[in-house]
Symmetry: C2
Subunit: 192 residues, 2 copies
DNA sequence: CAAATACATTAAACTATTTTAATAAATGAT
DNA sequence: ATCATTTATTAAAATAGTTTAATGTATTTG
């Protein structure tokens, strides 16, 4: 369903229907089964994606085997490893479906084509990257200045629907704590 | 000295001399004395800046009075609170000179003017924002997956010149630890 | 140059978070 | 339906990092 993609684009910039169509036609749909990977550590990320159904986690697996989740992407979210994609360097990240999912993917060549031929697309990605960056900056401040309990409370408040769809293991990996410690936090909160 | 700015731009995109000049002429120079502020919490950030001399810290002061440094900006680095600047919202951040400094500033209106009249500027900021975002993403992974000692070692390795110019208090605030704990780490390292 | 302020180090007590391990409940696969 | 795997919880011991406070040294500032 490219409709969701079109709506999403128009949330960021104003774009003629014609240009919108041209751009959206560069995307190809792909189905990803639960637990399979859209990207694995060491691969070069060759796509930028838009989730139309399902849920992904984008994470880093450190040398102790510990997963650190950078972000989740459910319906209407974009996913890529922007580092690997833009620099054509081996990715440090995994992108895995946590549910049976559907994404619309655009290749690097087609994106370059869009930059050249659809002038507004440059603005679209400038604006989107800015927003993503602001979000990450806010999260960075949060992570560094607030204790885990507060971060957990804010997470379930901010993403109630996502909380339902995620295991506590995943939420802990996003918050940067162990699932054991998250369990303690939950117990403490429940007693209030 | 707009020369540094021009060189910096050409590191990101290719731009005609004419366009480069037009864009660079939109910047105004400002001198900032050591310890004074380019931006304070609560203000709306009305500029995007390029440091030609000196050193700044961009930081968040949390409710416990603890400083959390988002990044440093020395010569040839850009500074702004992109959140406050793009959304015209009150900033959560302080930007303070740690040395007597000089910056080139562009206002929001002039930047909008550039977006409209100098088509390549849209690309410039898309590319720069992408790079900034990649850097922050890498730092996020680092922060969450490595202990403070390792992060400190990597910091002094990656920014040896900056290390010389910064107090350990500032470095600790960047690493997200107390200066007391940094002192312990340094002692431990010295004994090796 | 003297006084005041900022900086770096150390120690001791404290708190947040991890690690390991065991158990029970929920979910998934054959 | 059954067996295996994943998930959530709990407890106990260990570790990373904070807090407070004291001390000496370096750096500013009047």
């Amino acid at each position: 369903m490219r409709e969701f993609l079109k709506q999403n684009i128009k949330k960021h910039i104003s774009l003629s229907d014609n240009e919108t169509d041209q751009f959206c036609n560069l995307f190809h749909q792909k189905l990803i089964k639960k637990k399979s990977f859209l990207l694995q550590q060491g691969e070069i990320c060759k796509f930028e994606g838009f989730v139309t159904k399902g849920l992904f986690r984008v994470y880093y697996n450190d040398k102790n085997g510990f997963d650190q989740i950078l972000y989740f992407a459910a319906e209407n979210w974009w996913i890529t490893d922007i580092d690997s994609f833009t620099n054509a360097s081996p990715s440090q990240l995994f992108i895995q479906a946590l549910e049976d999912s559907v994404v619309l993917l655009i290749s690097k060549d087609d994106k370059e084509f869009a930059y050249k031929n659809l002038p507004q697309i440059e603005k679209l990605f400038r604006v989107m990257t800015q927003k993503t960056h602001v979000a990450l900056q806010r999260r960075m401040i949060n992570n560094l200045s607030k204790p885990a309990e507060e971060r957990y409370m804010e997470f379930i408040e901010k993403y109630p629907q996502l909380t339902q769809r995620l295991s506590n293991i995943q939420i802990a990996a996003y918050l940067g704590i162990t699932n054991v410690f998250l369990s303690n936090i939950r117990k403490k909160i429940a007693h209030k």
